[in-house]
């Protein structure tokens, strides 16, 4: 618990990065997210927890407009990042996603080399001036993804040949290569073994130095380990949002308490 108090101090210092107001999401006729209001802070790990199907992943995908790729999905309400409405008609989701990176549940390296996997983002966004620059970006991203030492000798090997944990760290490196400001992680450890999970969690904690990290997780222990803020979702509602320590030790809402103590979920 000592540890947690230190984290709390950090949180206070950071400004609001993402502000969501009255967000409603519909999948066809299903009302998946009901009136969610939340402020997510910069340089903080925010965890979304809740039972399956509670809408936490859906809400996460609203933050970089990944839901746009699903035809039947409609989003209402306001989400502002750095004060800009990301659902403004003038906003190009492509530009948005460069700013809000995402890591997925299952490691999904492209069937290309490790180098090309990481270089893909910078290439499409035109971040590198030349080859040397691109090499730099790739190396920096791989270092930040805490996988550089493992792959530096085989950058041209296919990314799909790595182990599950390495693949996921490669995907994180791929996401940070475009130099996002927010990193969304959708259950990044659910497909990994405990050792790989520990490595990724350590990485997430480091990433907090530079990014606002939002992580969806099934595991309450993981949320407690990596996050400073926690939001509990239930049946499409944001039930409770606050300091991770508070949520886990002294929740206000009985539903949160039931979930934390294992009675629902």
């Amino acid at each position: 618990m000592n540890d947690m108090r230190v984290l709390e101090r950090d949180v206070d210092a950071n400004a609001t990065k993402i502000a969501a107001r009255g967000v409603q999401v519909y999948y066809g006729d299903t009302h998946a997210i009901k009136d969610v209001n939340v402020d997510i802070q910069d340089k903080t790990v925010t965890a979304f927890i809740g039972p399956s199907g509670c809408g936490k992943s859906t809400f996460l995908r609203c933050l970089n407009r990944m839901n746009d790729t699903i035809d039947v999905c409609r989003v209402q309400g306001d989400i502002h990042i750095d004060g800009e409405d990301i659902y403004d008609k003038r906003v190009d989701p492509v530009q948005l996603r460069a700013k809000v990176g995402m890591v997925f549940q299952k490691p999904n390296p492209f069937p290309k080399s490790i180098y090309d996997n990481v270089a893909y983002g910078p290439k499409i966004h035109g971040l590198a001036k030349n080859k040397a620059d691109l090499d730099d970006i790739v190396e920096r991203a791989l270092r930040r993804g805490a996988i550089w030492d493992e792959v530096k000798d085989r950058l041209q090997a296919p990314g799909t040949g790595l182990s599950g944990g390495q693949q996921q760290r490669l995907c994180i490196a791929r996401a940070v290569a475009t130099e996002p400001e927010v990193l969304l992680m959708d259950e990044p450890c659910s497909a990994l073994d405990p050792i790989a999970t520990a490595q990724v969690e350590e990485l997430i904690d480091e990433l907090r130095q530079n990014y606002s990290v939002v992580i969806v997780t099934h595991s309450m222990q993981q949320a407690a380990r990596v996050s400073q803020k926690t939001a509990f979702f239930h049946l499409g509602n944001l039930v409770e949002y606050g300091e991770t320590g508070t949520i886990f030790t002294n929740p206000e809402d009985p539903r949160t308490e039931s979930y934390i103590t294992g009675r629902i979920g």
Binding site: K43, I81, E84, D85, I86, D88, R90, V91, D92, V94, Q95, L96, K99, I124, H125, G126, E179, P180, E181, E206, Q209, N210, Y211
Partner: protein, 451 residues
């Protein structure tokens, strides 16, 4: 580590606000729009080709369903047709079509003169170019059917020649007739004069649908009816052979086959046979059925057997898919009440898969109906000029043609009048295919089960 020790470039580089689209994104958006257009262009081109194809079929083929006839009262002169005057059928039959031709020409000439049409064509023989060569046979058949007509003047509706027909259908142009030895401008003038009188008349042509093929010089008399019967016989053979064999093979492979070399071999064979060019099946038919087994050429039975071998893979593949779609729980339920494996398959699985099997079979039949190449090799292009009833009686072993083979025959002939027939034949063929596919779609919709 502190924030200061590891500055990110995102801090260093000022971002453009999200609401303003930067130049690079604009370029990427344009590339995106272009790429999307390629896709739309691809589909549009495909659909454009489809429309052009269907339009040219309809535009060129509908003419075949219309035919030009000449309505004339023909005096059946006893002096020519029945010299002995005893109406003896045997003697009447000895008068060939050459005996009738002058009577018809005379009749038309009389009509022309009676109606006061001015034309330089004053001789009986001048009428030859107007009348189909098959008109005489048509009149003769009627007379032989009822000899008492002889001596009377009977109203006939005889076929006009192919050129007259083509003139009324805009196929034969005035500027081209100078080079045409079969007709000239005077005849066309005469046609123009006869049309308002109702003597030359273009009407619906049932004979095209029911009739038999005609020789090279009589495009106007050719019909697709007999080859339709040939196709029908072949489809019958395909249905009778391919459905049971296909279903039995599928049941074995899907339900009983152990995992062994033989099963693998069969599977590989089926997969490969599905991709063997149809002409190879024609070679097989020629070598095995005709050369080796000495079955008759041009017989619907042989054609049907070749098409059976060709459609079997299609039927087996679709039947297996519908057997696979029946959930294992049904089999388990049957086995659970003590049915044998065979009983569970025949009593429960097969009936549930039947609609799917039927759909696959119909689609296989449709494929077989349109197939041409193997039929050419086994000679399914028998020239059958006799009319429908005779050949219905003759059945599976007598020479016949098939619709697509008949269309091919017409397409090969020199006279463009046959092209119209070929297109018309295609319309009929496509109507059959559309009907079959519609039935298949309806069956699938109706009985489709989601497990």
């Amino acid at each position: 580590m502190t924030d200061a020790s590891m500055p990110t470039s995102s801090d260093a580089k000022p971002r453009t606000p999200l609401t303003t689209v930067d130049a690079r994104t604009k370029k990427r958006k344009a590339a995106e729009a272009r790429f999307r257009m390629y896709g739309i262009a691809g589909i549009a081109t495909g659909i454009f080709f489809l429309i052009v194809l269907l339009a040219s079929i309809v535009a060129s083929g509908t003419g075949a369903f219309q035919q030009t006839f000449i309505n004339v009262p023909v005096y059946l002169d006893p002096a020519k047709l029945d010299k002995n005057g005893n109406r003896n059928p045997a003697e009447l039959a000895k008068v060939s079509t050459f005996g009738y031709t002058p009577l018809i020409q005379e009749a038309l000439l009389t009509q022309v003169q009676n109606n006061g049409i001015e034309t330089p064509l004053e001789k009986r023989g001048d009428m030859k170019a107007m009348i189909s060569a098959s008109a005489a046979a048509q009149v003769r058949d009627v007379v032989l059917g009822d000899p008492d007509m002889i001596g009377e003047t009977v109203e006939f509706r005889i076929l006009a020649s192919s050129r007259v027909d083509g003139y009324l259908k805009d196929r034969v142009k005035r500027e081209d007739v100078a080079r045409d030895k079969n007709i000239d401008a005077e005849h066309l003038d005469l046609v123009d004069a006869l049309v308002p009188l109702g003597i030359v008349q273009k009407t619906f042509n049932i004979d095209f649908i029911t009739g038999a093929d005609a020789s090279e010089s009589r495009a106007e008399a050719a019909g697709i009816g007999v080859s339709m019967i040939g196709s029908f016989f072949m489809m019958l053979v395909v249905l009778v052979l391919a459905l049971p064999i296909g279903v039995a093979a599928s049941i074995y492979l899907e339900e009983f086959a152990p995992k062994n070399r033989l099963t693998d071999l069969i599977e590989v064979n089926i997969a490969n046979l599905a991709a063997v060019p149809s002409i190879v099946f024609g070679i097989l038919g020629l070598a095995v059925f005709i050369q080796f087994m000495h079955l008759p050429q041009s017989a619907p039975l042989v054609g049907g057997m070749v098409l059976t071998l060709m459609t079997l893979p299609t039927i087996i593949i679709s039947t297996r898919a519908s057997l696979k779609a029946v959930p294992p729980s049904i089999r388990d339920a049957a086995l659970g009440v003590g049915a044998s494996k065979m009983q569970s398959v025949f009593h429960h699985v097969l009936p549930l898969a039947a609609p799917g099997i039927l759909t696959g079979t119909i689609i296989g039949l449709a494929q077989a109906l349109g197939e041409t190449a193997p039929l050419l090799l086994i000679g399914m292009v028998g020239f059958i000029a006799s009319n429908a009833p005779d050949s219905i009686a003759s059945g599976l072993l007598d020479p016949n043609s098939a619709m697509p083979a008949q269309i091919y025959e017409w397409a090969k002939r020199a006279d463009p009048a046959f092209y119209e027939r070929a297109w018309g034949g295609i319309i009929i063929l496509l109507l059959f295919l559309i009907t079959m596919n519609t039935i298949a779609v309806i069956l699938r919709r109706r009985f489709e089960r989601r497990w």
